[in-house]
């Protein structure tokens, strides 16, 4: 990439996230007040209490061995985490700096029941509880810092335990017994004497109330052990006795926590309602009164399914204590609220899990739209009958432009009151990125600044194999831009279609559509209808076709779809046609790629907006090697266990319209990675060679030969050609581990394509295709040198200059998205993972822009000096001639 040090931050930005918060603890003892959080993404981080920024962060393994089971922090102590899933690792961290202090492993022998383990820290000891329902509890105590086990595991006989029991440290509470005869039992697991508190459940309910016997713990870090029964009654355990509270749970879905505030012990409840929004109440237990400052209920704060993570009571100079409430929402966003309901900060943590992204063009400004419509031939012919009318119109638009220019010059001194509306800039570099996250939240993000312009949460959207289509770009005023997202309904698994305007985030067109069948495949029609909208073709599991909008059904012809079964490796193709009344899908081909037991690892197709610029490559002897350009080509990578060779990877290039296999190759003793890219006639995929224990990239290029198969200008048809192209193949060693792969893409495909790779270390690399070109010759001599091919080396060079994100690492890169911009030389790149990183890439350097450090000063000085020199010499020479003439 080779940027200069002074270009840092000019074209790129990075945003760091931690993931959905699982445990949170307030740290108010250190100088910088912070919140220590442990998240579902296996991240341990410290957030600044005032601003919510990440102060330090530790990312654990993404597999189950990095799952955080416990986060413990008590004031003055160190932060303790228990991570893993048998075997476990206990680690201690310094809360200010985040540096590791100690770590030791725990291994549990009983692997089947290990997932039922419960952990907590008490008096400098780590207590591990393993229940065996119906018989006993195994309790082990470890020294927190060293891990030494004091004696053996103690077994407490408890016949009354079942899987509905909860842990409210140090008590283990259960409801047992038969319906109508429930008993509430609890046991202090750590005390030496075995004392069971046992009371019938009906004591805590009034007559006539239905008792179901569900136990739920209090959320957050409570100062006293307590629990909620049946989402109604709240009980605390004090002095080995159950103590019911006078106040009941305000709402069935409310989450409650109990803290020791300055004014006394306090119960805080929070819940959200569709109509009323978020509500928070606080109740002082000692005085039995409600604390009115905490009470709030506001529809403007939209937190779906709010969950309390913790409540902090801060001692301020004034008499009134201040409270900070940390809330988690079902959309993975975390908010810190002040008492009274004001939001201090919020973090959109669902952006740590992005599944799809799409770059959308902005609409042109009004004046530009007027200009462009002038050149639109059809409209011009309709409206303007004579040349004079067109001329008058031209004058009019030019006057308007002059007017805006003068206004801009005048307005530069004044402060801009209104924010500039979103319009396309000159080079079309300013776009909107529509992001879909795993939890079902959709964002519209400005790509230059990274700020979120709009967001929409839909809990019913299941983003398992979500697809996003831009059905209409913003280039056709007065029609709005139109983006459709197709996913599954969370509960039924049927199709779920959301259509919205990506510039503003509002629902348009079909809005939210719930289908009643499951979908097999979705495609966009290539022709536009009268409103310049591409129709959406949905193929459902009974092989019937739905077209949205329905009026576009007669436009369907020459459309082919394929459906691939991931688990078996079978693929089949359909041809769609409108037969006068409806669109029919006829099955035309089926393949059984990979053989028995194969599994599809990944399929890479070409992007919809891709273009091919040149028909072939010029060789050294001035002949042309014509490329095999098939827009219907798909690269399918399959993996299969094999008895003789441990694993076999098969890569097949298939024409998806006629189902013909164009090229195929196999690798023995290799496992495929789900990373494959495909653009123009170049295909590349990654696999791990088990034999040599290294990652390798295999590339294929398809060529027709030295003569074209079809005369130039004929349309390509998959059903027309039966010849197989010649394939150039090669494999290279990748000296790093990759987690994401993409090709750069530009509008007219004149610039070279570079491979964008996301490494497991968090660096993003850009590698020219020339390094993985399969035609790299063994020796450099004569003809190959003239063509510009680099001599063959088995290992790919990954120098530090090729990194896009210099020292701003992106943790756990999951995908890289590249989009073309208005400039031919530049491609816009977004890398997603735990963090987001956006930058601009110029694979052939910025050949269509003046370079950044263009020496305006030097050139103007030299020019001025030359002009001065010319005129002065002229003057002096004439004077000299005059003098000589007088001699």
């Amino acid at each position: 990439m080779c940027i200069y040090e002074d270009q840092i931050g000019k074209f790129d930005w990075r945003q760091t996230y931690v993931g959905r918060i699982k445990f949170a603890q307030f740290d108010t003892v250190s100088t910088a007040k912070k919140i220590i959080v442990a998240t579902e993404e296996n991240v341990l981080a410290a957030l600044n209490l005032k601003t919510g920024q990440v102060m330090w962060r530790h990312v654990f393994e993404s597999a189950s061995s990095g799952d955080i089971q416990l986060l413990h922090f008590s004031d003055g102590d160190k932060v303790t985490t228990v991570t893993g899933s048998n075997p476990y690792l206990v680690r201690g961290w310094d809360p200010t700096t985040g540096v590791l202090l100690w770590e030791w492993p725990i291994s549990i022998i009983d692997t089947e029941r290990a997932h039922l383990s419960e952990w907590w820290v008490q008096n400098g000891m780590l207590v591990h509880l393993l229940p065996a329902f119906g018989s006993h509890l195994e309790v082990t105590m470890y020294n927190l810092m060293t891990g030494s086990n004091r004696g053996a595991t103690s077994k407490l006989p408890t016949v009354w335990t079942n899987d509905g029991c909860i842990l409210t440290p140090p008590y283990y509470t259960c409801i047992s017994g038969n319906m109508g005869n429930y008993m509430l039992l609890s046991l202090d697991v750590t005390s030496n004497a075995v004392q069971i508190i046992s009371k019938p459940l009906s004591n805590y309910f009034s007559e006539g109330e239905v008792i179901e016997g569900n136990l739920r713990p209090l959320d957050g870090k409570t100062s006293q052990p307590g629990f909620i029964i049946d989402d109604k009654a709240i009980l605390l355990i004090k002095n080995n006795e159950f103590e019911p509270l006078n106040v009941r749970l305000a709402d069935q879905s409310a989450s409650a926590t109990f803290i020791d505030a300055i004014s006394g012990p306090m119960l805080v409840q929070a819940w959200s309602d569709e109509n009323k929004g978020l509500s928070i109440t606080a109740y002082n237990i000692a005085t039995n009164t409600e604390i009115t400052d905490m009470q709030m209920s506001g529809p403007k704060i939209n937190i779906p399914e709010a969950e309390l993570l913790g409540v902090l009571c801060i001692n301020t100079a004034r008499e009134q204590p201040a409270y900070r409430i940390l809330l988690n929402g079902a959309d993975d966003a975390v908010h810190l609220l002040q008492q009274g309901g004001r939001v201090v900060w919020s973090r959109e943590e669902s952006l740590a899990n992005i599944v799809a992204a799409e770059f959308v063009d902005l609409p042109v400004s009004e004046t530009d739209a007027a200009l462009e419509s002038e050149f639109d031939q059809k409209e011009a012919i309709k409206v303007y009958s004579s040349v004079w009318a067109a001329f008058v119109r031209r004058l009019h638009t030019q006057y308007q432009q002059l007017h805006t220019l003068i206004q801009n010059l005048q307005g530069e001194g004044a402060v801009l009151d209104t924010p500039s509306p979103l319009v396309r800039d000159y080079f079309n570099l300013h776009k909107i990125i529509v992001l879909i996250t795993d939890v079902g939240k959709i964002y519209g993000m400005d790509n230059l600044s990274g700020e979120i312009l709009w967001q929409r949460y839909d809990g019913n959207l299941n983003t398992e194999s979500v697809v996003m289509f831009t059905r209409r770009s913003a280039r056709h005023p007065p029609h709005d831009a139109y983006v459709t997202i197709i996913g599954k309904h969370e509960e039924t698994g049927n199709g779920y279609v959301i259509s919205l305007n990506p510039i503003r985030g509002t629902l348009v067109g079909e809005r939210v559509l719930r289908l009643d069948v499951r979908l097999l495949q979705v495609a966009l029609l290539h022709t536009v209808d009268a409103e310049k909208l591409h129709a959406l073709i949905l193929l459902d599991e009974d092989e019937t076709v739905q077209v949205l909008p329905v009026s576009a059904a007669p436009l369907v012809r020459d459309l082919y779809m394929y459906v691939a079964d991931r688990e078996t490796g079978r693929m089949q193709g359909y041809a769609l046609k409108y037969d006068g009344r409806q669109v029919i899908a006829q099955r035309t081909w089926s393949l059984n790629l990979g053989g028995a037991g194969a599994r599809i690892v990944t399929i890479a197709g070409k992007s919809r907006t891709e273009r091919v610029h040149s028909a072939g490559k010029p060789l050294a002897d001035r002949s042309v090697l014509y490329k095999y350009s098939n827009p219907n080509l798909l690269l399918v990578v399959l993996e299969r266990p094999d008895p003789t060779h441990k694993d076999v990877v098969t890569a097949v290039a298939v024409d998806a319209a006629c189902g013909a296999v164009v090229a195929a190759s196999t690798h023995r003793r290799a496992r495929a990675l789900p990373l494959a890219v495909h653009s123009d006639n170049c295909l590349a995929y990654l696999y791990r060679s088990d034999k040599h224990r290294r990652l390798e990239i295999a590339t294929m290029e398809l060529y027709e030969g030295n003569e074209r198969w079809l005369p130039a200008g004929t349309q390509f048809s998959s059903f027309g050609c039966a010849r197989a192209p010649s394939v150039e193949r090669q494999a290279y060693i990748v000296p790093a581990s990759l987690t994401a792969l993409a090709f750069t893409s530009t509008e007219k495909a004149i610039t070279d394509t570079h491979l964008l790779m996301g490494l497991s270390t968090g660096m993003l690399m850009e590698l020219p295709w020339a390094y993985v070109d399969p035609r790299r010759p063994m020796t450099l001599s004569g003809e190959p040198r003239e063509e510009g091919l680099i001599p063959y080396a088995p290992e790919l060079p990954l120098p530090a200059e090729a990194s896009l994100n210099y020292n701003r690492t992106v943790q756990r890169v999951r995908a890289i998205y590249a989009a073309p911009s208005g400039l031919e030389s530049t491609s816009l790149v977004l890398a997603t993972g735990l963090d987001l990183f956006y930058t601009r890439v110029a694979p052939s350097k910025t050949f269509d822009l003046l370079k950044d450090d263009f020496d305006y000063h030097l050139i103007s000085i030299v020019l001025a000096a030359l002009i001065v020199a010319t005129y002065s010499t002229k003057y002096f020479a004439s004077r000299k001639m005059l003098k000589q003439a007088w001699k």
């Binding site: 393949l591 006629c658 189902g659 059903f719």
Partner: protein, 221 residues
């Protein structure tokens, strides 16, 4: 002698690295002129040995009804679909579907190309029917019977190349040895090395020499 023969066959079997060789039987069905079922028989293709690749194709000729149906399909720009059932010595029958445009088949005079792709383990991954892109339109006489010309190609899925580390290491070693043995001698003549600098200097001298003697000669007279 026998031992030599046995040894050679086993040796070559291993060297060729084709894991499996056996027979293959492909039943070809199509959907033209089928009375009640969806597909009816069109022919069979048998191969004795996958490695050898020679196939015996046996197909029914197309009669009037077949061609009439094909023409109807061609008018609607429809597809002529062929179903193949592949059975190998390993066992199960696998079904494949493939289609060509009915118009294309008629234009080619009922000649098509059948390609079957085989993995090194002997399993078939695809059986595809295609037609060549020809421009001649043969008007088919409805009365007579037309045999179908099919060309069968068996394509093997090859092993992909592995990164060639051996020759690269050899090249590095050779370069290292050459560097240790002696420097690359630049033993062209002095003139050949520095002619680029000598010529402009000579040109300058001559110009100044031609200019100045004249200039010197004139004032001196």
């Amino acid at each position: 002698m026998h031992l030599m023969f046995i040894f050679l066959t086993i040796f070559f079997h291993y060297v060729a690295c084709l894991d499996y060789d056996g027979w293959m039987n492909i039943k070809v069905d199509h959907s033209l002129n089928c009375a009640s079922e969806k597909y009816c028989k069109r022919g069979t293709i048998t191969l004795k040995s996958i490695r050898a690749g020679t196939a015996i194709i046996d197909q029914i000729p197309f009669n009037r009804k077949h061609i009439k149906e094909l023409q109807e399909l061609a008018e609607l720009d429809g597809f002529y679909t062929i179903r193949t059932l592949v059975s190998t010595a390993e066992g199960k029958e696998i079904e494949f579907l493939s289609s060509v445009k009915a118009k294309g088949l008629l234009e080619n005079g009922l000649s098509d190309i059948i390609s079957a792709w085989v993995l090194p383990s002997g399993e078939v991954i695809a059986v595809t029917f295609q037609v060549m892109n020809s421009t001649q339109t043969n008007a088919l006489n409805l009365d007579s019977e037309y045999p179908i010309n099919s060309d069968f190609y068996l394509r093997h899925v090859d092993q992909a190349p592995v990164p060639d580390t051996a020759s690269y290491i050899q090249k590095l070693e050779r370069e290292r040895e050459a560097r240790e043995k002696g420097e690359l001698k630049d033993n062209r003549s002095f003139l050949a090395k520095y002619w680029m600098y000598i010529v402009p200097i000579a040109v300058f001298v001559m110009i100044s020499g031609a200019g100045n003697p004249e200039g010197a000669a004139q004032p001196s007279r």
